[in-house]
């Protein structure tokens, strides 16, 4: 039994009368893709928020790589090896694709209190940035385009490259397929699959094709509680999950 890299125990988050995360325990093992599914408003994004450090839980703990990070700041967790993508992509809209990734590389390279040397022609930043864009198959022709002029698909991929720049041990992906067309979804699935064996992933997604294609394990969240955890087959066969969430696709 390998040590999980992320261990969530007894996590609780309340919004007024609503318990969005209800005594939730969960773990993610090294290298696995762990999908998190559940009805809308089940508390998936709220959980991601707590893992990332944007939302402070009311109770429970989050252990990451053996550190208790329950109260750590976002950047502190990122420095430890956490990477996340957003449900709505967050990028630097006025910059080029390359500049975005280069900045992420820079952030990973240590502190940025360097005031003199020009950064925009610094190969120590640009070379790794290009490599990352290659890794996610970002078309070279578009690397000098400004983010503001990019399509939804390009942005999603670019964001992934930025996340990877941090050399994360765990990726938190909140609806990476959202906003992608059918074709782009397939390519994104391939890209994620290609990363397998690298960072572990906690994947929130409503696109079941992608989930079943990628996930090693799946946890189903309903009303803030994990009602089932298991392999794709187990979950697909689970009648409770069928009723609460899946339905016959396209019925």
């Amino acid at each position: 039994m390998v040590e999980p890299i992320l261990k969530v125990s007894g996590l609780v988050k309340r919004f007024g009368g609503l318990t969005a995360t209800d005594n939730l325990s969960l773990d993610v093992r090294p290298g696995e893709i762990h999908a998190l599914i559940g009805p809308n408003g089940a508390g998936k994004s709220t959980l991601i928020g707590q893992l990332v450090g944007e939302i402070t839980p009311d109770a429970g703990s989050v252990m990451f790589l053996g550190h208790d990070v329950t109260r750590a700041s976002v950047p502190a967790r990122v420095k430890l090896g956490l990477g996340r993508s957003f449900q709505i992509v967050q990028l630097l809209d006025e910059e080029t694709a390359l500049a975005n990734v280069a900045l992420a590389v820079q952030a990973h390279a240590g502190h940025s209190f360097r005031f003199w040397r020009r950064a925009d022609a610094d190969e120590r930043l640009l070379a790794p940035a290009r490599a990352l864009l290659d890794q996610v198959d970002f078309p070279p022709a578009r690397r000098a385009a400004r983010v503001a002029d990019m399509s939804a698909g390009e942005r999603k991929v670019l964001e992934l490259a930025m996340v990877l720049a941090g050399g994360p041990r765990l990726l938190l992906l909140d609806e990476p397929m959202a906003g992608l067309g059918a074709g782009e979804s397939i390519r994104m699935t391939d890209t994620l699959r290609a990363l397998k064996g690298g960072p572990a992933m906690l994947l929130v997604e409503h696109d079941m094709e992608a989930v079943f294609a990628l996930a090693d394990r799946i946890t189903v969240l309903v009303y803030g509680r994990a009602i089932a955890t298991g392999t794709a087959e187990e979950i697909r066969a689970n009648p409770a999950v069928q009723e609460a969430y899946l339905a016959e696709e396209g019925a």
Binding site: G41, T46, E154, L246, G250, A251
Partner: protein, 233 residues
């Protein structure tokens, strides 16, 4: 009901639509298909007057709407569920639904709060919550509800099932089928081809701002390979 011929539009100096042709008949469901960035949303914005048409014609129920400002277009009976939801974050769920509600054409059975809450019980539970704090899917439901509350002739759904759980998605398709039976015309943009095929009467494929293919579901089945190519699948 809605017809676009040779529609052109863009953003500032850059032109995005070059030749979009589109037609939806009374009570019909039509789709706009195409890869990311091909101009589907821009077409919708051009129809709504948000990015005014720079060329071509645009008629709705026999009236030229190409030069109308958005509010006039909407007042003529087009309801929009925009890409990215765009719910009003600082309003409560109930306020979001009420603020722009209208029954301009005196429907026999207009959409009301109770009907919306029956369709999306989740919204009923969250009536007084600020829309900003809703989950992604809940916001999507709200955007759909909000458009229905304007009781339009034509409903435009731009990726309206994005981020919805499969059960809810299935429910939306069922609702759209029911609405179609009530005589509502619908223009859908969605990546869920199989559901669209069953629901829609007519499909349009966009490629780099041009309508490159149009036809009914049967024809779509027939030309599946070509269309798949355009869709990048």
């Amino acid at each position: 009901m809605l017809q676009a011929l040779g529609l052109q539009a863009g953003y500032g100096p850059s032109q995005v639509l070059f030749d979009v042709n589109l037609s939806i008949a009374e009570g019909q469901v039509a789709t706009l298909l195409g890869r990311n960035g091909m101009g589907k949303t821009t077409t919708v914005r051009a129809i709504m007057g948000l990015n005014p048409a720079r060329g071509g014609t645009l008629t709705f129920r026999g009236e030229d709407i190409a030069a109308l400002p958005p509010e006039r277009v909407a007042q003529r009976g087009i309801g929009l569920v925009p890409e990215g939801r765009m719910v009003f974050p600082t309003l409560t769920v109930r306020e979001n639904l009420v603020a722009t509600a209208a029954d301009r054409f005196r429907r026999a059975s207009p959409w009301t709060l109770p009907r919306i809450f029956a369709l999306f019980p989740r919204l009923g539970e969250r009536q007084n919550q600020l829309a900003r704090t809703l989950s992604g899917g809940e916001q999507q439901m709200l955007a759909i509800g909000r458009a229905l509350m304007t009781n339009p002739w034509l409903l435009i759904l731009d990726e309206a099932t994005e981020g919805l759980a499969p059960v809810i998605r299935a429910e939306i398709w069922a609702t759209l089928a029911a609405l179609k039976d009530e005589g509502l015309a619908i223009l859908v943009i969605d990546k869920n081809l199989s559901a669209l095929k069953r629901l829609a009467d007519r499909h349009h494929v966009l490629e780099k701002g041009r309508t490159v293919w149009a036809g009914n579901s049967l024809e779509l089945e027939r030309d599946a390979e070509t269309v798949r190519g355009w869709m990048g699948v």
